[in-house]
Symmetry: C2
Subunit: 204 residues, 2 copies
């Protein structure tokens, strides 16, 4: 019983007493990762040595906090992505515009340099692919729930495929963010126009 109490108190307490989860060193380390990735370092060539040097900490400081490069990279990308938007719940159309507008939108200018560089990694490494899937999962679940709500309220057809609809909504915007695939499209208005076009269909 005393051991059960111990493990419960360990779980709710910071991992290492006296060293809270986010310290200035942690922030400096995360910033160093994002700086290195945005200035040309590939995930492959990124080294704990370079990160430590850039952050002005010792390698041991990094290893005390993260098990390795993969875990550190995951935290850095999570920081870069920020919090997902919160739908108001009033209109499915407006909530979808909000969520689609959030794709690839990032106040951190490093994101536009970092995100495209990670695409090859997704193909090279199953770990990287899993990391991405994990990163987008919370946002994806928010969109899924808005679509389910639309079906329930009758705003959306009840025969839609939720996963396919998510691909229809996100694909064009993500493609444009990553590749500026269609040079003539106005990126600012794209989310709203995509949502409206997909709601309405194009058949006569």
């Amino acid at each position: 019983m005393s051991s059960a109490v111990d493990s419960a108190s360990v779980e709710s307490a910071p991992r290492s007493p006296g060293r809270p989860r986010s310290t200035r060193a942690d922030e400096a380390i995360i910033e160093a990762v994002l700086d290195l990735l945005s200035t040309g370092s590939t995930v492959e060539s990124l080294s704990i040595e370079a990160i430590a040097a850039k952050a002005g900490v010792g390698k041991a400081t990094i290893y005390r906090r993260w098990s390795g490069k993969g875990a550190l990279l995951a935290d850095a990308l999570r920081t870069l992505k920020g919090q997902p938007p919160v739908p108001s719940g009033a209109s499915v159309r407006d909530d979808l515009v909000l969520l689609v507008s959030g794709i690839g939108r990032n106040t951190d200018p490093r994101a536009t340099k970092i995100m495209p560089c990670l695409i090859p990694e997704v193909h090279r490494s199953p770990q990287q692919y899993a990391l991405y899937q994990e990163l987008v999962q919370p946002r994806r679940e928010i969109m899924r729930e808005v679509l389910r709500r639309g079906v329930r309220t009758g705003e959306l057809r009840d025969d839609i495929d939720i996963e396919l609809t998510m691909a229809l909504l996100t694909g064009p915007v993500l493609m444009q963010k990553l590749l500026k695939w269609h040079p003539d499209l106005d990126e600012g208005k794209l989310p709203e126009r995509v949502v409206d076009a997909i709601l309405a269909g194009i058949a006569a």
Copy 2:
């Protein structure tokens, strides 16, 4: 006058008499570029030296045929992409399925390794971006014409935005090819399902 005749005959003749445009050496050089790119070489690190060594030719042979790495890369990617599909013209829906099915479809297994790796290049270099745009332009014009035809025949609404519609049709499939973004989607059926969903819309 004699000089005008000369330049006309030079233009219609092979660039170098006795060395036709496509020789076995040319093919070996193109293959070398594709092999190097598909086995981890980045566009940046790709060197004429490495290509020459891999193709078993001298650097001079490459420079006789291509002005530099950019021109050679453009030809190699054109070879990799192959010929665009030819719509039958019977049904706009079927033609769109044909064209959307052609996105990222490639009989050359090296393409799935090469194409994702080129995305960061598009961001790093305006030349690379222009090369991509030039590569996809013929396919894009074929799809544009199918959509215009659909508007003319009344199969499509006459208020659709052609460029936006192209992004709607290509984005989800390209995204899935590049990132397997939605792990649960069946890639084989995706083109047909995307076309039908976009034709029909999702609003109740």
